[in-house]
Amino acid sequence: MKFVSEFRDPEAAKILIAEIEELAADQPARKFMEACGGHTHAIYRHGIESLLPESIEMVHGPGCPVCVIPMGRIDDAISIAEQDGVTMCCFGDLMRVPGGSSTLLEAKAKGADIRVVYSPLDALAIAENEPDRNVVFFAVGFETTAPSTAITVMQARERNVENFSIFCNHVTIVPPMKAILDSPGMELDGFLGPGHVSTVIGTGPYQFVSREYGLPLVTTGFEPVDILQGVAMLLRQLAEGRAEVENQYKRVVRDSGNPAALRMLGEVFELRPHFEWRGLGFIAQSALSLRDEFAGFDAEKHFALPGVRVADPKACQCGEVLKGAIRPWECKVFGTACTPETPIGTCMVSSEGACAAYFNYGRFRAKKRIPVTST
């Protein structure tokens, strides 16, 4: 019980672990996917897998928005950044993501004006302060982040900031979940639904998991006790023959989501017909682009982009990791050629990526499950 004693509420954790053991004992082996980078991080950091019965496997899904950006889009961003008069703004964790030939960090070292910003609003402020620069914000992220880009674009329009545009790479959470459920050989028994994405979209969009696939989904918080409770709720549904969308994280996630954020998303963005995901290939209607009314702020309409599809390095198995087909340490280059310092694949770049999280916390615990006695 080494880790349980460190939890905020160790007693609650012990009770949940006992409940999970009891429920799991009467069920076949179960595979649950968490589709949220924050959950992946918490699961590794707290050694939660070692607290679960051996019959329960946690599969780490495509929950990290940085990890799913295909290399070709990084190349496109670099090509924009290298043009005269352009200032490219992005979040810090994009800087080291490998493109086909280099990273944004390397492009910056070679002289491109690439700046790390905390918020898209900062990129807009740069555009307003430096009217002679052509400021492009490299927008990435799921529905958690997309409303902030939408609001920034609306403000740019209100304030007539003409030297500001967005290189839009926003993606949506539901289509990749469907793609994973549809991929051959993927047999999941349920999902821990993402936390912060759900504060925006609510729980409604996950109904397909129960209706079309007959699986339970529990939107779950980030504390160890939350995750244990999420797992217990999934097991309880399975034990009772139910497949429903439940919300463990009610204290933050409303079933209706955030209506203001959803309204602004709808006003600014529309679905792309298809978008490439790293490791998952092209997925229909899985990403956002600016509506025609906002075309003036769309970097893809201002700049000629190479738009070349770059295959992932052969040695890299990020796709298999993202689909949960292999575990991070089962990748051929994990921890040897691919480390957080010199990442080959995106899962190792972002600290929320499954490989980086596992590299930092989990690698010594993989095969050593700590027996938990609940009596």
């Binding site: 905020r8 949220c36 980078g37 924050g38 991080h41 918490a42 950091r45 707290h46 929950g63 990290c64 928005p65 940085v66 979040f91 810090g92 964790d93 790390v116 910003v117 905390y118 918020s119 898209p120 609003l121 900062d122 402020a125 740069i126 307003e128 302060n129 990435v140 992220g141 799921f142 958690t144 982040t145 409303p147 902030s148 609001i151 912060h196 994405v197 504060t199 925006v200 918080g221 980030f222 504390e223 204290r251 933050v252 955030n258 209506p259 203001a260 954020a261 602004m264 972002s350 600290s351 929320e352 930092n360």
Partner: protein, 95 residues
């Protein structure tokens, strides 16, 4: 980058701006409150903050829980705090 950090509202700026000053670990910054206006966000409230936008109003206990989670993340939280603490382009420091 998909993380939300708990922040306390210390000042609501003039209504037309839809911005507030929030504090995270002693550092202050102006953030957008467009997404929580319907919740009637007030000074003293805790919000879940993501890339300069308050995403939802949370209670103090939840803020502490989120803070524990963020501190647990270690490096990822430090990077987020560093980014949060970076000067806003063209603005005077608010802290």
């Amino acid at each position: 980058m998909c993380v939300g950090i708990p922040a306390q509202v210390v000042e609501i700026l003039p209504a037309e701006r839809k911005m507030a000053v929030v504090e995270v670990e002693g550092v202050r910054r102006e953030v957008s409150i467009v997404m929580v206006l319907d919740d009637g966000v007030q000074v003293g409230d805790w919000v879940l903050l993501h890339v300069g936008f308050a995403m939802s109003v949370i209670d103090e206990d939840e803020a502490r829980s989120q803070l524990d989670f963020m501190r647990m993340l270690g490096e990822a939280y430090e990077e987020e705090l560093e980014a949060f603490s970076a000067p806003v382009p063209g603005a005077e420091p608010t802290a």
